[in-house]
């Protein structure tokens, strides 16, 4: 049962930022509420003041800007799951969104809410990193853009200042002869292991390889040491490199033993999902000129 709180409905980022600054720790941004309302109902945390960002025009929307995908922080998972532009130009993103939680959470939950609540067992924060996505963070009078990877500080913790709002995620297109893929594993309500890859081929070689692992560690992270194993390899001789990259990424993921499984098993799964996501990405490249 929720304890009472004040709701304010600013109509601009500046107004929202001002409200957050004024109320400090007692205030929290409220978008879809699919995670925030749960922990408040559970009594784990209480905010005197919720700042509704859905009343700020311009935060919801999916636009394609010269091939770059601009995702409003307040757009729902279902919007990206079903948007023709996303499905055509960023099919991996649409597929990932289609498997987030259940259809009701996807109808209401937003990208900004998912990323800023920063529950370790989540999907968008992992996949979007392999697109080198950036996050646009605004507050009254100023704005900054950071790599999405930098947003996550720890479980349930981001780098946002008290009066800052995440307003947009910008997803640049992959180069030609590229494709991304995301696979996850687990049988509980939240995923146990998530691996994203983006592969670029050039003249039969791996021109670029990007790998991100989520759900296993405290935050979703790019695995650059593992990526180095694959860059430059002939596409037909990546077997050994993928195995090594899988081991490196598995260890670097900082797995722990918990309800989702043992650390050892999670590390193993990182390797398995990496190879399968890799194969899926290559198949996508072969399937069409650019994905």
């Amino acid at each position: 049962m929720l304890r009472p709180f004040e709701l304010s409905e600013p109509t601009s980022v500046a107004e929202a930022s001002e409200l957050l600054a004024r109320h400090g720790d007692a205030a929290r941004i409220y978008a879809g509420g699919t995670e925030l309302i749960l922990v408040m109902k559970e009594g784990l945390v209480h905010y005197e003041h919720l700042v509704n960002v859905k009343t700020i025009p311009g935060l919801a929307g999916v636009r394609l800007d010269a091939g770059t995908l601009r995702l409003g922080a307040a757009t729902s998972h279902r919007a990206r799951e079903r948007d023709p532009l996303v499905r055509q130009h960023f099919p991996a993103v649409a597929r990932m969104e289609a498997d987030v939680a259940n259809v009701r959470v996807r109808e209401v939950g937003t990208l900004g809410g998912n990323l800023c609540f920063a529950e370790p067992h989540a999907d968008p924060g992992t996949l979007l990193q392999v697109f080198d996505a950036t996050a646009r963070i605004e507050k009254k009078g100023s704005a900054r853009t950071i790599p999405l990877e930098g947003l996550f500080v720890g479980p349930f913790e981001t780098c946002l200042e008290g009066d800052e709002l995440l307003t947009e995620i910008v997803v640049p297109p992959l180069p030609s002869r590229s494709a991304a893929a995301y696979l996850k594993f687990g049988f509980l309500e939240r995923p146990s292991v998530g691996v994203a890859v983006a592969v670029t081929l050039d003249d039969g070689h791996v021109a670029d390889a990007r790998i991100a692992v989520g759900c296993v560690g405290p935050v979703p992270r790019r695995m650059r040491e593992a990526e180095a194993e694959l860059r430059g390899k002939p596409r037909t001789e990546t077997g050994a490199a993928l195995a090594t990259a899988g081991r490196i990424a598995g260890r670097a993921a900082d797995a722990i033993t918990d309800l989702h499984g043992s650390a050892e098993y999670k590390e193993h799964l990182v390797g398995v999902l990496l190879r399968r996501a890799w194969d899926q990405a290559l198949a996508a490249i072969d399937g069409s000129p650019r994905r």
Binding site: P4, L7, T34, V103, R104
Partner: protein
């Protein structure tokens, strides 16, 4: 604490309400409007017994706040039948025995209406994916799947009739 005045259309009826921000949609529907067909079970958005349609989209009434229905339409299980004339999905659930204890049935049916509205002839796998968030502990899901596929056939085949 400032209450929010709002107009909402629930099952076709207009209601002018003032709700505190912390009131959930299920509290509003059950306690204020007496719509006891909306069921509360897990209260953490997993089981789906509280599924209602907000502008024809399935949401968890246990976690969506009541004021979010401001200026929008809400449809609950009570709003499907027209008098004694059941909605095709309701009919299919009865005929296929797609219910036993009935506690998941209102949510299951509302999610099905939303599914068919969005995807008139879903495949079995599409039904399973869409309905993954509606838990049933009694039936084993087989007859619910059959009822949904049958209802989708009838509704898309049904030119006239109440294929709402």
């Amino acid at each position: 604490m400032k209450e929010i005045a709002m107009t909402v259309i629930v099952n076709g009826d207009k209601h002018d309400l003032t709700v505190p921000p912390h009131e959930t949609l299920i509290e509003c529907l059950r306690d204020r409007l007496g719509l006891l067909g909306v069921k509360k079970s897990c209260d953490v958005q997993v089981c789906g017994t509280c599924t209602v349609l907000l502008d024809d989209r399935p949401v968890s009434a246990c976690t969506v706040l009541a004021f979010e229905a401001r200026g929008r339409s809400v449809r609950t299980i009570e709003g499907l039948a027209r008098g004694d004339d059941l909605h095709p999905v309701q009919e299919a659930f009865v005929e296929h025995g797609a219910l036993q204890c009935g506690f998941c049935t209102p949510g299951m049916i509302m999610a099905t209406v939303a599914l068919i509205n969005e995807n008139p002839r879903p495949t079995a796998d599409e039904v399973k994916h869409y309905m993954r968030g509606n838990i049933c502990r009694c039936t084993g899901y087989k007859r619910i799947l059959e009822a949904i596929l049958d209802a989708s056939r009838r509704m898309s085949g049904a030119s006239a009739g109440n294929g709402r």
